[in-house]
């Protein structure tokens, strides 16, 4: 067992535990924090996969921005006491869990069976890291269009959020 | 061109009324009547221009490509069968407009527009030679009819109209599938004239079409919408419904089911004929116990249309011709009956038989007209009903492709018809005059004008049906050749009275059959 495997198991386990915690903690704040843990572990996995840039962005965007936003809203709405109410019945829960387990088994099955696949079996030939430089270059040449579209998406989000939460001047008066 | 004019002139009327709505009620009525009459007059040109020596479709002009991408064209034309139905339609429409002169209380323009639009739809159905076009007209005619019943109908009009539309839609849904299936077997074309069998899955296709038509006819188990629709429809709606709409079912059978899928028709005859006979008897029995005049007439339609279907499935010239003739007859006499019921309803605001009695004293003209129409409906010799029913029964009995037992039962239906009709007549016209009915006025001039043409044709067909039969002979013959296994059976000689010769041929045929069997 080499270092990479150890680290994979470590990060993988952490991310799984985090993920399970997300859905099992009662309190949204704890869920959110568990999600942060998962994201961190995933950033670790990305580094293992040689995707340093993605790992950094993962932390900056997910942990640094998205989850803070979540925390912010949870705190703003002070959801602590409210969330306990109206939990769903055990039947639905059981169903969901069974469904989930089935999905998971299927996923594992698919993943294991894909080993025969030539594209997948090409495995481990490629290692090494992708530099930010490479990604930057790709973004502005091959992936120019998606990049521009992403900017539009952000514009849409910007406009949308302003529409949804900005206090109107009439209301103030 | 002529035919297109006939079809679309009423639609022009619809637009004209829509635009000139502001001119007032009399103007609307005037426009509607004028359009109806002009259409009728022009359609008479179809009669004179029709060449009875050939069974091909005529007068339609060259087909115009409509939707090139789907092989759909605007292809119309008439043959000896549709000619009469077209004429019946153009004839009944002005009659209806006149009959509705004073009875429409609200939305007169809408009423007239619906009526004229309906005419276009019906004419289109009878003239279409393209399956798509046919289906378009078939479906679009539903909408005006829907409004006619739904807006100007009686108490339970909404129930009735929705039932009517849903039944028809359900049927036409299947027909649509059938049409599409035919399309692919017809070299990606919807042209009816190029359709020639045998088709794959012809049994299923036959059923798809037949169910749609059977609902429209209506054949026995599919008939339940009819009494509701008739009872709730305004008088004019009933007239059109009984006079023309029901014929679209039988027309469809003779135009599609029989010639396109002869094998399947053969196969299902043992199933359909009993249904037709059940319809005859059942309709008659139910009519007998109806307390409501309109319902009685409605059930009598079920019975009469049973005859028509019986005749169609006899698959011989006499039966088929009788059927076609009976379609016209039924249109005339049942239409007239509905008109009369409507007239009396306008006066008395009741259709219950018990509310009447002794009317003949107060309303002699009405009674006379009623008598003639009733007798026509029963099938009294000398009036139109007799010719049709006789030919049907004769054809089915002598040459029918099914057991004669059915014909015996069907004949019982004729007797039953006499029973319920005459009984009804007696209860309404004779006996003591109720006090409330003492002041009922007799028919006025307009109403007489409405009824006279109907009576004229009732008598004409009864006395001298030859011009009618002549025109349809070739076309019916063509259907018969297509539907009959043995080609020798189909031929008809020009102008020969139908009766005896046919009988002889039939017996010859039977002989040969028996010989074949003994061998």
């Amino acid at each position: 067992m080499n270092a990479e495997q150890i680290l994979f198991i470590l990060f993988g386990a952490v991310s799984l535990i985090g993920a399970v915690s997300v859905i099992s903690f009662r309190h949204p704040i704890y869920s959110a924090l568990s999600l942060v843990v998962t994201f961190f572990a995933q950033a670790g996995l990305f580094i293992l996969l040689g995707a340093h840039f993605v790992a950094a962005v993962q932390v900056i965007v997910y942990a640094g921005a998205i989850m803070v936003l979540f925390l912010f809203v949870i705190m703003l709405l002070n959801l602590g006491t409210l969330s306990a109410k109206g939990a769903i019945g055990p039947k639905v829960k059981g169903f969901a869990v069974i469904l989930g387990i089935l999905l998971a088994i299927e996923g594992i099955y698919i993943a294991l069976n894909s080993a025969n696949d030539t594209t997948v079996a090409a495995a481990e030939s490629a290692t090494g890291t992708t530099t930010t430089y490479d990604i930057g270059k790709l973004l502005f040449s091959e992936y120019l269009l998606p990049f521009e579209v992403t900017s539009l998406i952000l514009l849409a989000a910007l406009i949308g959020v302003i529409v949804l939460v900005k206090r109107e001047s009439q209301e103030e008066n | 061109m002529l035919l297109s004019t006939v079809i679309f002139l009423p639609l022009l009327g619809v637009i004209a009324i829509a635009l000139l709505r502001g001119l007032g009620e009399s103007a609307i009525k005037g426009i509607a009547l004028a359009i109806g009459l002009i259409t009728f007059v022009i359609s008479l040109g179809l009669y004179t221009g029709f060449n009875a020596d050939t069974a091909t479709f005529q007068l339609g002009g060259t087909p115009i490509e409509w939707v090139s991408g789907l092989g759909i064209s605007y292809h119309i034309g008439i043959d000896g069968i549709s000619l009469w139905l077209v004429l019946l339609t153009t004839f009944l429409t002005p009659v209806c407009i006149l009959a509705a002169w004073n009875s429409v209380e609200k939305g007169l323009s809408g009423f007239m527009m619906s009526l004229l639009a309906l005419e276009t739809g019906m004419l289109g159905v009878f003239c279409s030679l393209d399956l798509f076009l046919f289906f378009v007209f078939w479906e679009s005619m539903l909408i005006p009819m829907y409004f006619l019943i739904g807006i100007w109908g009686g108490e339970r009009r909404i129930y009735a109209t929705v039932k009517f539309v849903l039944y028809t839609m359900a049927g036409s849904a299947l027909m649509l599938v059938g049409i599409l299936a035919l399309y692919f077997q017809n070299d990606n074309s919807f042209d009816l004239t190029t359709l020639s069998g045998p088709f794959e899955h012809s049994d299923l296709l036959f059923l798809a079409f037949f169910v749609a038509f059977a609902i429209k006819v209506p054949l026995f188990p599919f008939h339940t919408w009819l009494p509701d629709a008739h009872v709730e429809a305004p008088t004019v709606g009933s007239v059109i419904l009984a006079g023309v709409l029901l014929k679209m079912g039988t027309y469809g059978i003779i135009r599609f089911c029989l010639p396109l899928f002869p094998d399947a028709a053969e196969k299902f005859t043992p199933l359909i004929v009993p249904l037709a006979v059940i319809g005859i008897i059942y309709g008659a029995l139910v009519a007998m116990v109806q307390p409501d005049l309109k319902k009685l007439v409605a059930y009598s339609s079920v019975s009469h249309l049973g005859f028509v279907v019986l005749g169609l499935f006899s698959k011989n010239p006499a039966g088929l011709q009788g059927s076609v003739l009976q379609m016209i007859n039924h249109g005339l006499s049942t239409g007239a009956l509905f008109l009369l019921v409507g007239m009396i309803y306008e006066r008395r605001h009741s259709r219950m038989i018990v509310d009447f009695g002794g009317l003949s004293k107060r309303m002699p003209i009405f009674a006379t007209v009623f008598m003639i129409v009733t007798l026509s409906s029963i099938g009294l010799p000398g009036l139109n009903g007799f010719v049709g029913e006789y030919m049907i029964l004769f054809g089915s009995f002598v040459q029918g492709a099914f057991s004669k037992v059915y014909v015996v039962f069907a004949t019982a239906g004729v007797i039953l018809a006499a029973v319920y009709m005459l009984w009804m007549f007696q209860r309404v016209m004779f006996g003591t005059l109720d006090k409330t009915n003492e002041n009922l006025p007799d028919l006025n001039a307009r109403e007489i004008v409405v009824m006279l043409p109907l009576l004229l044709f009732i008598v004409w067909i009864g006395v001298y049906p030859k011009p009618f039969l002549n025109k349809m002979e070739k076309s019916v013959g063509l259907v018969v050749t297509k539907v009959q296994a043995t080609p020798a059976m189909g031929q008809l000689e020009n102008g020969v009275p139908v009766g005896t010769k046919l009988a002889l041929r039939e017996t010859e045929h039977e002989k040969s059959e028996k010989e074949a069997q003994t061998k």
Binding site: A65, L71, T132 | -
Partner: protein, 394 residues
């Protein structure tokens, strides 16, 4: 990863130990300095009893914190309450890992960079880790279960997210010219002389970055999260003893690391008129480290200076400032830098262009703000201070 040279591991461990200790010592010095400088600015003495010039005062404070009773209030959310200070301190510490504190020294025949790890995404690493700092504040605030704390937390999270943007954007101009994310490369690329340093070329970005840095470290004039007058110390109201000390340390550590990063990015790192190259391989390294240290210290002095110069922002002013001034400046700087760099390839032109464009942007924004802001109807109050004057005092 398996066959790392032993020397590398050893030297790394040594570097880590040294830097961590340096930071901790730096924190203590900073606390002392802050108090002394504050005193000096306010024309008073500041701590001067413990040790020479009061130099040992931080240690005394530290001891006091350590031996104080560790109170955990009943109403708090315990796990998070305990976690929060650590969440603030740890990011502050590990950010230092990628900062180059000097050029390099040669020892035992090996070259040792004066930097714990020179990773190729150095700046992103810093941004990533800095962005985590907010969790400490937010969680501490929330876990305290106290509305003032919560308000502080909310303010802080909004503020940090807003200014992080400027922080990130401010760097991009530099990245465009150096085409590397490695801090060491960026530091080396800047020449020996001040006019070759980035702060001149990217002057607007430098200002924006520095300002954002102030906001990120929750220093005045951006200390709304803990504004004593409004929030009773904000997010750390409920904290005491060592936990409070950790918050305190984290803040100073952030300042130190932030200054170090700014020095690296904008102020030429360890370069100073070629002085860093004087002496042998060992000495030059140490000299470069000293230069770096001095630069950082000067910058840190700036923090204290600003603290006693500028009044605290009101919350909406803070947001307006971040979004309507800093962000446009940073964005313009990116556009101008990119365009001029591609067109001319001359740092001089880029520098001039940046300065001019920033001036224009500021003028436009200020003009628009003046035009669009509705004049508040000033109410006659009983107070002898006018409301506007009150704002200024605050």
């Amino acid at each position: 990863m398996e066959n790392l040279p032993l020397f590398f591991i050893l030297s790394s461990i040594v570097k880590i130990v040294i830097i961590v200790h340096l930071l901790l010592i730096g924190v203590m010095l900073m606390i002392w300095a802050e108090r002394r400088v504050s005193g000096w600015m306010q024309d008073r003495l500041g701590p001067n009893r413990v040790g020479p010039q009061g130099l040992l005062q931080p240690i005394a404070d530290g001891l006091k914190f350590m031996f104080k009773e560790d109170i955990i209030p009943d109403h708090v959310d315990k796990p998070l309450y305990v976690l929060a200070p650590a969440m603030l301190l740890v990011p502050a510490l590990i950010t230092a890992a990628v900062v180059p504190f000097g050029s390099s020294i040669e020892l035992f025949g090996e070259t040792i960079n004066l930097q714990i790890a020179d990773i190729n995404i150095g700046i992103l690493y810093i941004l990533a880790i800095t962005s985590l700092g907010v969790y400490g504040v937010v969680l501490g605030a929330w876990a305290s279960n106290n509305k003032y704390s919560l308000l502080g937390g909310l303010r802080s999270s909004a503020q940090m997210i807003s200014y992080e943007l400027t922080l990130g954007l401010g760097i991009i101009g530099i990245l465009m010219l150096t085409s590397s994310l490695s801090l060491r490369t960026i530091a080396t690329e800047q020449g020996a002389y001040p006019w070759q340093w980035n702060f001149l070329i990217h002057f607007p970005a430098f200002l924006a970055f520095t300002t954002a840095m102030f906001a990120e470290t929750n220093r005045l004039p951006f200390d709304l999260a803990e504004a004593e007058q409004e929030l009773v110390a904000g997010y750390h109201t409920e904290y005491s003893s060592m936990k409070f000390a950790m918050f305190f340390m984290a803040e100073y550590m952030n300042m130190i690391v932030g200054s170090a990063v700014t020095v690296t990015l904008f102020l030429g790192g360890w370069h100073f008129f070629g002085l860093e190259n004087v002496g042998g391989p060992v000495w030059s390294g140490l000299i470069s480290f000293a230069i770096f240290f001095v630069k950082t210290a000067i910058f840190l002095f700036g923090f204290i200076w600003v603290r006693w110069t500028l009044p605290r922002f009101r919350y909406d002013q803070l947001m307006n400032f971040g979004w309507k001034f800093l962000l446009p400046i940073a964005l313009t700087s990116i556009v101008v830098t990119g365009t001029l760099w591609i067109m001319t390839g001359s740092r001089l032109v880029v520098g001039i262009g940046n300065a001019v464009s920033a001036f224009i942007v500021v003028s436009i924004v200020a003009g628009m703000l003046v035009m669009t802001t509705p004049k508040p109807a000033i109410q006659e109050s009983d107070s002898r201070f006018s409301p506007t004057a009150l704002d200024a005092v605050e």
